[in-house]
């Protein structure tokens, strides 16, 4: 038998079994309606959960991108100070981040997809629940239990197929989100322990920053000393033509502006 037919028969047999359990078929209408409302809230919660996970992954990607930019800047600064070893170290760390950023972007796209699917599923279910409610009232008002049977069966099998479908969609979204949550947790931990060094803590974090700062404050002192010795007026402009400090500042200044906020 065809695949499409087999799946539909399985759905139908589930609906029939649920219907067979009922004594007065009209009672199942209210019971089913209540379950539909529950499922509807569940889907809406599902949409919110997936959105939360997506935002978390987005935030992490932004943090890692800032860190990557920072390492790039550090490499450039180190190179301008003639420290190729430090530049190499910064670039090595940067390349380790690139894979993680890619991975996070893939996850973000997947979660976005799940979010859109669930949103549409919740809209479809809501429309069907509303239509079921109307039909339920009509059936209860105008038919005896015996007469109502066929009409109930019709309404019931349509809605229960939808409920099976939506229930499955929520389950799949939850499973996917749970997998990503675990990975997101690991990255949060890396960020928290400073292993990836949060870019918001520039100048107080990692060893490359500290070494570069030590070098530039050292060269600032030297430059000022040289300026004093030369007996020049100690206006800030007078420091400009200095040697070591200018090269450090010249690379530092413009980059601070173009760096991420």
């Amino acid at each position: 038998m065809s695949l499409m037919k087999r799946i539909s028969l399985i759905f139908r047999s589930k609906a029939n079994r649920a219907l067979d359990r009922a004594e007065d078929p009209r009672e199942t209408l209210d019971y089913s309606y209540q379950r539909q409302r529950e499922l509807l809230s569940k889907v809406r919660r599902g949409v919110a959960d997936v959105a939360t996970s997506r935002k978390r992954v987005e935030l992490q990607a932004t943090q890692l991108e800032q860190q990557s930019q920072k390492l790039h800047d550090q490499a450039q600064k180190a190179l301008s100070m003639g420290r190729e070893d430090l530049a190499r170290e910064a670039l090595t760390r940067k390349s380790a981040l690139t894979g993680q950023i890619e991975d996070l972007k893939t996850q973000q796209a997947q979660l976005q997809g799940e979010e859109e699917k669930l949103t549409l599923a919740s809209q479809r279910l809501q429309a069907k629940v509303e239509s079921f409610r109307t039909r339920k009232e009509t059936i209860k008002a105008s038919y005896t239990a015996a007469e109502a049977q066929t009409r109930i069966n019709e309404a019931f099998s349509g809605i229960s197929e939808e409920m099976g479908d939506v229930g499955m969609a929520v389950q799949r979204a939850e499973d996917k989100t749970a997998q990503m949550q675990a990975r997101a947790g690991a990255i949060d931990e890396l960020i928290a322990t400073g292993a990836l060094d949060d870019a918001s803590s520039v100048n107080q974090g990692d060893d490359i920053s500290r070494e570069l700062e030590a070098m530039s404050s050292q060269s600032d002192v030297e430059a000022e000393l040289a300026a004093l010795k030369a007996g020049s007026t100690s206006q800030p402009e007078a420091l400009e033509p200095g040697d070591a400090s200018t090269s450090a500042e010249a690379v530092e200044e413009p980059r601070k502006q173009e760096g991420p906020a």
Binding site: L3, M4, F11, A18
Partner: protein
């Protein structure tokens, strides 16, 4: 004929279009039986595309049950096997 694609919705498909869909469905079924994941993904995509382009979408508020039900577009072989077992993926 009403065809549901799980996770997407329902389409009304005419009898004439059913021959083509049955042929594609046979290919998906063969891929499921041989356990060929790549062939499965490929044939399922063709089948779902055919339903989407041949059919007309049922309105959201319709309460019709479907004659045929198809797996979601991103289903894995494993998920389809579970769908086909009675106590598989369908809740309730």
């Amino acid at each position: 004929m009403i065809v549901r694609i799980l996770g997407e919705g329902q389409w009304e498909v005419s009898e004439e279009q059913l021959t083509k869909l049955n042929e594609l469905d046979g290919q998906v079924e063969a891929a499921v039986e041989s356990g060929d994941e790549a062939a499965f993904a490929h044939t399922l995509t063709s089948l779902l595309d055919a339903v989407r382009s041949a059919g007309s979408v049922l309105p959201d508020e319709s309460l019709e049950d479907s004659d045929l039900i198809l797996p979601p577009a991103d289903a894995s072989l494993d998920e389809v096997r579970q769908l086909l077992s009675d106590d598989g993926l369908i809740p309730g």
